[in-house]
């Protein structure tokens, strides 16, 4: 068999060849030193790029603050917009929006001492179950990108804690 094309070897290294072709390449590699060396070079190149990709610096806190502030502002204005456009739609929508606000207010007043509304508590419990399920997945996936224990769900909320940086 003649030597493999570079494209074939690249796909071989990626594990992208169909089984039959992969078998043929394996067979060729077993008695061609030149193609074996090419495969080794490709693998070394990939390893070098992977090692390069493993270096990660944290996002500077000033940038975090800027992102948090921008998103918080957008969230506030989009929430306001949604409410306004809902009230423009139908009288029924106005009615139900007002009813929802009243329900929320009464829940808030009712649970005044706990400072968290029923919907927030439901959210938090739903989110903490997501967090529990996600933890092993997140660890496995590109571990260097995720700083353990820093994922705050349900407790950290954009816009609700104006004097603390929720996202750090």
């Amino acid at each position: 068999m003649t030597c493999c094309e570079l494209d074939t070897l690249s796909r071989y290294v990626d594990g992208d060849l169909p089984p039959l072709e992969r078998g043929r390449v394996n067979e060729h590699l077993s008695d061609c030193g030149s193609c074996r060396r090419e495969v080794a070079r490709l693998r070394a190149l990939d390893d070098m790029l992977r090692a390069w990709g493993a270096h990660r610096a944290p996002l500077p806190s000033a940038s975090e603050q800027r992102i948090t502030d921008t998103v918080r502002r957008r969230h506030r204005s989009s929430t306001a917009r949604k409410f306004l456009s809902a009230s423009r739609m139908t009288p029924a929508a106005v009615g139900s929006s007002i009813a929802a606000v009243l329900v929320l207010l009464s829940v808030n007043m009712h649970a005044g001492y706990s400072s968290r509304s029923a919907s927030e508590i439901a959210w938090a419990s739903q989110q903490s179950s997501i967090k529990r399920q996600a933890a092993p997945l997140l660890k496995a996936r590109r571990s260097s990108a995720i700083q353990g224990g820093q994922i705050k769900v349900g407790t950290g909320t954009l816009g609700r804690h104006s004097n603390s940086t929720v996202l750090d």
């Binding site: 390069w52 940038s63 800027r66 989110q127 997501i130 950290g156 909320t157």
Partner: protein, 185 residues
Amino acid sequence: MAIALEAALVDQLRRQEEDAFTFIYERHKAQIYNYLYRLSGSRELADDLTHDTFLSAYESLPKLRPDSNIAPWLYRIASNRFRDVLRRKRVVSWMPWGDSPRNEAQLSVLGGEQSLPEQEAVQTALSHMKPDYALCLVLRLAEGFSSEETAQILGISAEAVRMRLSRARQMFKTAYAAGELGAVG
């Protein structure tokens, strides 16, 4: 289970729920920032682009498709923001490492491990490649995406990614070898 989890998250994101957005921001901020830093070679630019990426992401939440995967979606936005910069030619040499006068200053803020000559050589080699090929190599190998995910991010087919990757490896090899020769000679 992972798929159901992601689907539930996407559903919440589509409704622009702030806790869901906080969650994905926390999960991906370091990845996105470092990806953009790798591409631009500048902290300042990576800063701005990370900001723009998350802002664009927030604004396009209602248009997020129900079957989306979050990471490729964010990387797609980040890659597009970076390509906008290239298009506006704010970055003259797209990864301004090798010969840039700012090189020394950049290295000093990088800290010990990233100023290793090998790290520098990788960055320089990538900066001499066509951006589309370099992006493919960075996404597939440095960021660890599959060919399918890389295809989603770049808006091309998985087969096109495989073809590009093969070509990109050759380009990288040549550029890297040229850099080594330059360093020696």
